[in-house]
Symmetry: C2
DNA sequence: CTGAAAGCGCTAACAA
DNA sequence: TTGTTAGCGCTTTCAG
């Protein structure tokens, strides 16, 4: 059995309260007694029980983070940002992975709520209503999702897509395909919105190839549709999907970017390492994670005196790499006849 | 303020104990009263405080997992295995990332210990002594590390390396370079042991290129040393490093596998997707994660009546892919003179 | 500066 | 079957 505060108290010949004070409010106790207490605590290997402490103080010293899929590099980066901020503020971080299951989000939210002081809920897949219904008593900050009345940190996805489409348009692309992500993804919805808007603005055709799992296999599955669509460029929901596209296109001997251009989104580190490298819309993952924690901590500090649910929006930035999967639409003839509607050339 | 068991009790017109029983031991209460209690609980949105419950039952219903780096795909897979097993046994899982810092391991171990029933400590970097010294009162199962007296789940890394070396040897390679991982990695030590042994057995030269961070950049940094070493094949500590090697070799216009062969370890999903694909030693990550939880749960069930710290060892398996980064050493001439000691050709 | 006592939310004897 | 009581490990009044 692990030593409790009582053990330390009797070992040091003082009361429990003195031990407690010696540990958490050192100024309030006589240096001599404090030394005695610390010595005893050290000798016994005493570790305060944070759960018990939390029961009375209402603070656990823990933060929670819920993400859809830790094996997605996008979320790993978010984790790193959240972690850095949490550690900096002297909080422990509990991370939970929902495996892209909406029901797990609610469950985890509940399991976590009493054990942490605040929760960052990243890219939740649950419908607004379900999310609103969960009576969570710790503060929750949403990331990559905006819901009326809840604080959130988001990225301007629509603008990112606009940058991508304008880039393609400038290169002469007039027919652009989109490999969509999960229907339940707010970010995906924002991206589609941005795509539609800017396709219209630039006078391009936008082909929606359907919703695919946000994984490598999703891109593999979408590649043939992309080719058949007659688009000269494909934008993928994210980089992982774009890598899947590249892989399948490679197997089919379709040259990227000569025959078709491929764009990703997120700017995961892998996207710079492929040949060709991926042109991508960079999402400030690390910063967003950090911002979510900063927001969370500010809410905790203010107590329950909520201002009207602060939102923070970061911007996305198109990254065009040197040797990349994007080329002018007119640069090469499009062989094989799978482009139904070529550019001017 | 969130409703407590008292609120539910008074709302249902019963005592706290009845509420408690209605929720955790439904058989022991009158169906009618139980219904009343459940109704009240539902209406108030009552969620039991697991921390408070844990304080008295000694069980929290949580498991902990500590890994060096969640952005490493190897550990993502481990997480998935651990998570599946934990969820299957109705435990919540708390994951913590140490950022490859040994000190963070100890810290997290302490922070976690009272809030979970058991901990899986994956690939710890701390010295044996430090690890042994930590007085953790929850059960701890080590993964990818064996320490006297602690239960563990490991993989036969040495045998994996043996398979790799014999494969290379059969292809005529006689000088093999190794890009080592962290000095503090037990797995790396095991791999080096296997490499030395089998190099000796097959009469090959083994060139140790030094220790590198187990990341992409580590491989990039090691590539030039590999070329200069005169080896006809390089084995990397893991696949991520191997990908870094491939990338840098590509930039230097060195053809893989024509001029030099590259092998990885771990079998992360990315390794099958590169061109050429990576021949790699597959580590059963998911299964190991699962096994660690199974072991942990069996320890928890047995109480403190320890048998002498059970160990479980899984096996590694060389994966040779169709189009791969490994070729016979004699298949092509080695240009550029950076191989000091060519094969028979 | 220190100790005694109360109580955080919950469960587990022990009675009724 | 239900209520009463004690107490998990800790912090925090309130006295002294």
């Amino acid at each position: 059995m692990a030593p409790t505060i009582r053990d330390v108290a009797s070992a040091a010949g003082v009361s429990q309260s003195t031990v407690s004070r010696a540990l958490s409010m050192p100024e309030l106790v006589n240096p001599a007694t404090r030394a005695r207490v610390l010595e005893a605590a050290g000798r016994l290997g005493y570790q305060p029980n944070r759960a018990a402490r939390g029961l009375i103080t209402g603070r656990t010293g823990n933060l929670g983070l819920i993400v859809p899929d830790l094996s997605n590099p996008f979320f790993s980066s978010v984790v790193k940002g959240v972690q850095a901020a949490a550690r900096g503020a002297d909080y422990s971080l509990f991370i939970a992975d929902t495996d892209e299951e909406a029901s797990a989000e609610i469950e985890l939210l509940r399991a976590l709520t009493r054990q942490v002081d605040g929760i960052v809920l990243c890219s939740p897949r649950s419908p607004d209503d379900d999310l609103a219904r969960v009576g969570v008593d710790s503060s929750v900050v949403l990331m990559n999702r905006r819901i009326e009345g809840r604080p959130s940190v988001t990225v301007d996805n629509a603008d990112g897509m606009r940058q991508a489409v304008e880039h393609l348009s400038a290169l002469g692309h007039r027919r652009i395909a989109y490999v969509a992500g999960p229907r339940t993804s707010w970010s995906n919805a924002q991206r589609e919105r941005g795509l539609h808007q800017s396709a219209e603005d630039t006078g391009s055709d936008l082909v929606h190839l359907g919703h695919f799992p946000p994984r490598f296999e999703g891109g593999v599955a979408a590649a043939d549709l992309a080719l058949a669509s007659g688009a000269t460029a494909v934008i993928a929901y994210n980089d992982v999907v774009a890598l899947g596209l590249l892989s399948r296109l490679g197997s089919r001997q379709v040259s990227v970017p000569d025959e078709i251009s491929v764009l990703g989104c997120d700017d995961i580190s892998m996207s710079a390492m492929t040949h060709p490298a991926l042109t991508t819309v960079s999402i400030p993952k690390w910063e967003a994670g950090r911002a979510a924690v900063v927001l969370l901590l500010s809410l905790l500090a203010e107590g329950t005196a909520d201002s009207p649910a602060p939102d923070r929006e970061l911007s996305a930035q198109l990254i065009v790499r040197a040797t990349t999967g994007v080329a002018p639409a007119t640069s090469r003839p499009v062989p094989g006849g799978h482009s139904m509607k070529g550019p001017t050339g």
